[in-house]
Subunit: 121 residues, 2 copies
């Protein structure tokens, strides 16, 4: 297998749509994904997966049951399995996700935002 | 459990030594670690763990059997299990690592660089 580096800026340039995680790396049955978020997502949780959100550019908000997190460039948060969360962003934010390959973007909810087949960049 | 964000810059300010990965996050039996590298590490491999190196600041080189990678800020590389690699850095580089909690920094080699008990920041 060819081993080569991944440049996140280059990958982010290849798409413009929001709330569509793309796979940019795979290791130990985990996926490294990137996504652009803008606007409101839905409140949901993941039954079996902890989820890491790392902000590459912009500001990401995550609403929890009891507070709202504001995550800026160079910051990350881990949302443990079972914990309800609702990502939202006033302006577009670029996010790197690290989570098990089994993770569905809308967790326990399935609707028009659900993406079952993720694109690989 | 309290859910709070992690600011990488703040974490990097808390230590100055090289080649000593510190745990800054745990999820799905994986660790998020940060480390400062400068100088030469040893050629080694990990029997069972794929390893991700994401450069936060500076330039990281990784020598493989057949080539040398140069990884810059905003870039990452995944070294699959079994693949021999030797990290080195001419100037200090700040690196974020994603890897299974079981990963030993020197992989199949154990010497004075080996750190069995990682500090949590």
């Amino acid at each position: 297998m060819e081993i080569s580096k991944v440049n996140l800026e280059d990958k982010f340039k290849t798409f413009s749509e929001h709330w569509t995680p793309k796979i940019v790396g795979e290791l130990n049955n985990q996926h490294v994904k990137i996504a652009k978020f803008k606007g409101q997502f839905i409140m949901h949780h993941h039954e079996n997966e902890d989820e890491l959100f790392f902000v590459i550019k912009g500001i990401l908000n995550i609403e929890l049951v009891d507070k709202v997190l504001e995550i800026k460039e160079g910051e990350f948060v881990i949302i443990p399995k079972g914990v309800k969360h609702k990502p939202f962003a006033k302006e577009e934010v670029e996010v790197l996700l690290f989570e098990p390959a089994s993770t569905l973007n809308t967790g326990n909810k399935q609707n028009e935002l659900t993406i079952k087949q993720l694109e690989k960049l």
